[in-house]
């Protein structure tokens, strides 16, 4: 009975692990996942008596019918998402199976249901929690299934079930270790060639503060809160740039300002920089960024400005529109490599920017109705200056030095205007600054637009990547320079919000977990043929140059290589152990090799043979090998059965005799 209870509990914990794996992908929904969890928790401690169970079984069919009807409705079109009702049905079945009496537990059905839950979870894009739950699931299954088997067999044949003693647990848990190891190897080495179907993608982050599709000066600030959700994880294959805290992860540009919010106009005439300009006229070096982005509700590819090229590493199709913003289509989570110019052209060059191509003045010089004193202020700041660059730099400097950055929001709607910011409050957050600069530039006839994205990030030493969170959401200004294109200006005073973000990052465990999450994404969810080739390449490189220390940011992390090496050593050791039999002593090994040689030579009959019997047989059937064989047997029996250890000379003599006999036998 003890075994049955243990088994039941293990199966229930197994179901919880499967549920957790599912929740890690599909998210926690109160009425299904939480209720299922609660029922499982109850079932862990209480198993219904048969009479109660009978009442309970009457409850399931109508509920199941209800859910089935919901699936049907979903299929008919009221809701396109049939996965959720199907999962609800699955959970209902799980609950009904878990609430059976101890004696009538149908374990195979539970195994199947939990497996189905795991499968359902893979349709989502579960986080690293899935990895933990999956590991727990495998370990629990390796313990629970054998116990269930023994229990079932004992029920059928009778007999006393062995208690799950320590040895049993050690065996089964190491079993799960082997299973996981095997799973890892299969996962890593299974060839990825075909283009599979895409998952459902992550849950869309509509309600999350930070970056959004539009910038509105009065409202957006209300949503700026400490939100440490990581949106970009950036690796720098060529090395981390020194100024990584000042990097502008450019997202989208906005050309139309109605006095409160910035939007994008439709049918903008091409206003992006001609392709060859960056290559020819921007003298700076290129910087490569490997970016793992979290899915947002806006399909934007972030990167350092200006992005010259984007290569997709996941199932997405990057493209740029005619204002120069990068977006994509495809439902996968974007993973891509962006190539950007490391820095802007020098101010001297920009000062000399001649009259070349200008973008649509309808768009980039557009201004809403606004108080005249704003234009007057702009004019007063730029009146004495000759060129675009100096004018833009003057406004930028004015805002940066004369104004305060604050996260505090204006108290009334009247206080939220640009006018109020510029002349009364003289403090605000980034949208105010960027808007003010763009508007002032436009009022003096300089093409400008508002841009949003993220600023800076935090270097994760554990994961070797730059983590950019929603906290780092930012907006700034781009100014057109003929012959060069859009140049970034950031009028916001320093410390653009990092301070508050730090609070949320302060918990080191969270930071560590994000590293784990990144690795999970990189090595599991987004593992691909390229990663496989990388791994292989890294392995061969490592094998070619064993003396050189492995670069930690290039190729696969060395731990994989160690695992492979360790595995081969273990296999070798196992093979050796098995081949050597029950580890006999040295003399016995010599003797056994003689016996094996005799058997190979066909001198010995099958079946056990005694030492002197061996010597006699060899003497009779192969007289030439008889003398050394006899000598070997005499030394062996004396050491093995006489308890008289051989001295080194005799050991040598034994080995020599065996060698000689084997040579003459073959």
């Amino acid at each position: 009975m003890r075994l049955e209870r243990l088994h039941r509990r293990l199966v229930i914990v197994l179901s919880v692990a499967a549920l957790a794996a599912f929740a890690s992908g599909a998210g926690v929904e109160p009425i299904s996942a939480v209720m299922t969890f609660l029922v499982l928790a109850v079932a862990f401690f209480w198993s219904p008596s048969p009479s109660v169970a009978e009442h309970l079984t009457r409850l399931w069919p109508p509920l199941a019918l209800l859910l089935a009807a919901r699936v049907g409705l979903g299929l008919l079109g009221s809701s396109p998402d049939v996965v959720v009702p199907v999962v609800h049905l699955l959970l209902l079945l799980l609950v009904s199976e878990a609430l059976r009496p101890e004696e009538a537990l149908n374990e195979s059905r539970l195994y199947a249901l939990t497996m189905a839950l795991l499968l359902a979870a893979t349709a989502y894009r579960p986080g690293a929690l899935f990895g933990l739950a999956f590991t727990a699931y495998v370990i629990l299954a390796s313990v629970a299934v054998p116990i269930g088997l023994v229990k079932r067999k004992v029920r059928r044949f009778g007999g006393r079930a062995p208690g799950p003693d320590r040895q049993f647990l050690v065996t089964t848990v190491s079993l799960s270790g082997a299973t996981l190891l095997f799973a890892g190897i299969v996962f890593l080495t299974f060839p990825r060639v075909a283009r599979g179907w895409s998952g459902r993608g992550d849950v869309m982050a509509t309600s999350i503060a930070g970056f959004s599709d539009q910038v509105s000066i009065g409202e957006l600030g209300a949503r700026i809160q400490a939100n440490p959700r990581v949106v970009l994880r950036v690796e720098f294959p060529d090395g981390l740039p020194g100024n990584f805290l000042g990097l502008h992860w450019r997202g989208r540009s906005y050309d139309h300002f109605d006095g409160v919010r910035w939007t994008r106009s439709d049918n903008v005439r091409p206003s992006r920089v001609p392709d060859d300009w960056y290559q020819e006229r921007w003298p700076a070096a290129l910087v490569r960024q490997q970016i793992y982005a979290a899915p947002l509700d806006v399909r934007v590819l972030f990167g350092l400005s200006p992005m010259v090229a984007v290569g997709a590493d996941s199932e997405i199709y990057p493209m740029f529109d005619n204002v120069g913003d990068w977006s994509y289509w495809g439902s996968a989570t974007p993973v891509y490599t962006a190539v950007s110019k490391a820095s802007d052209p020098a101010p001297e060059l920009l000062r000399q920017a001649d009259r070349s191509y200008m973008p649509d003045r309808q768009r980039y010089l557009q201004l809403p109705r606004m108080p005249d004193r704003i234009a007057a202020l702009a004019d007063s700041l730029t009146r004495d200056l000759e060129n675009r660059y100096d004018k833009a730099a003057a406004i930028e400097r004015y805002l940066r030095t004369q104004f305060q950055y604050t996260r505090e929001l204006p108290r009334t709607a009247g206080d939220a205007t640009l006018d109020h910011f510029l002349f009364d409050r003289r403090a605000g957050h980034c949208e105010y600054f960027s808007t003010a600069m763009a508007v002032m530039l436009r009022s003096v006839g300089i093409h400008a637009r508002n841009v949003n994205g993220f600023l800076g990030g935090r270097w994760n030493e554990f994961g070797q990547y730059l983590a950019v969170t929603q906290n780092e959401a930012h907006s700034w200004v781009e100014v057109w320079f003929p012959s060069y294109g859009w140049i970034t200006f950031d009028p916001t005073p320093g410390g653009s919000g990092v301070g508050a973000a730090d609070v949320a990052w302060n918990w080191p465990g969270r930071f560590w977990f994000d590293g784990l999450q990144h690795r999970w994404n990189k090595w599991v969810l987004d593992y691909s043929m390229d990663s496989q080739l990388d791994l292989l390449g890294g392995l061969t490189r490592w094998l070619d140059r064993p003396g050189e220390p492995e670069s930690s940011r290039e190729g696969p992390s060395p731990s994989w290589i160690w695992i492979v090496a360790l595995l081969s050593v273990t296999l070798l050791a196992l093979a050796r152990f098995r081949g050597g039999g029950p580890s006999p002593g040295g003399v016995s090994r010599s003797y056994l090799s003689l016996v094996r040689a005799g058997r190979r030579a066909g001198v010995l009959d099958p079946g056990p043979i005694t030492p002197f019997g061996l010597a006699r047989t060899i003497r009779v059937r192969r007289p030439e090998a008889g003398e050394p064989a006899t000598r070997a047997v005499e030394l062996y029996t004396r050491a093995r059965f006489g308890g008289i250890p051989l001295d080194p000379g005799e050991s040598k003599a034994l080995r020599a005799a065996v060698r000689q006999a084997r040579k003459r036998l073959s």
Partner: protein, 329 residues
Amino acid sequence: MNTGNNLLYLLLGAMLGAMGVSGWLSERTLRGLRVVRAVPRGVPVDQDFRIRYRVTNRKRWLSSYAVELEEPGLPGVAFLPGLPAGSTLDAHATDRFVRRGVYALECLTLSTEYPFGLFRKERDVVLPGELVVWPRTDRSVPGEILGGGDTPASSLSAGHPASGPRGEFRNLREYRSGDDARDIHWRTSARLREPVVREYERDASEVVWIALHLDHPPGADAEAAVEVAASLCARAAARGRSFALTAGPHQVEPGSGPVHLERALDALARADFGTPGLPTLPVPRDRAVLVTPGPSVPGFAKVIRTGGTASRRDAGEQPSGGSSSGAAA
């Protein structure tokens, strides 16, 4: 290029891993098991009997679980829930035979579904042995053949210690199982601290010689003849009579007691019909009883025929009078 759902590969890997590991473990579970089979000395036909397997796990650290042991051709399964490393446990299988004879046991099949019940791993262990199935001994036979009253035959149980006729004192010898306790020579037993019995010369003419005629095709009559012969032996043994048996090449010299009866039953279990010729006897024919499924043979003291009018009995029926005709030569 992401090729889709990587987690499916993970699940696939785990499943393959579980299969591989379970295959390996079940293989290991069946390895290093030493099985010793103990079958009963002989088993009566139509009765349940148990085969005992003593299984030793000779592996150093790996226990074996859920091991089933089967004899090919026999329905019984012995099951061992768990066998810790280095330990020895017993398992039993219950079987039943419906025909007498000698059954060769050649190999034993060890199997297990441990650990996951995904596969069944089997291993054949060559373990020669044999089972002797004795014929039934509860046929009614004419009591006068043995002389004395017709006491009910109580087959193997020696619960009816009849005092056989005694001849002259011959010898003292060690007690053997089946000896009459009244023959124990207590004084010598006390001195030697082990039981010693008196042996008496027996009158050779008191030996009941039973000859089974095997020159006849096998069949129901032939089996009936074997059962009659077995019942005669059992009856003689129960009465403490000395008896001898000849059945083709198998001869059992005169003797008495339950152990002697077992020898006779062994010989009868091995009797093959179709052996030509009359039974050979070391004594004149007129001192022997012939049991034959065929026609009567002259010269014997008595003849019991089971052919022709013999009624057939099905298994499970209560012992009833088998037809037998005593025919004096």
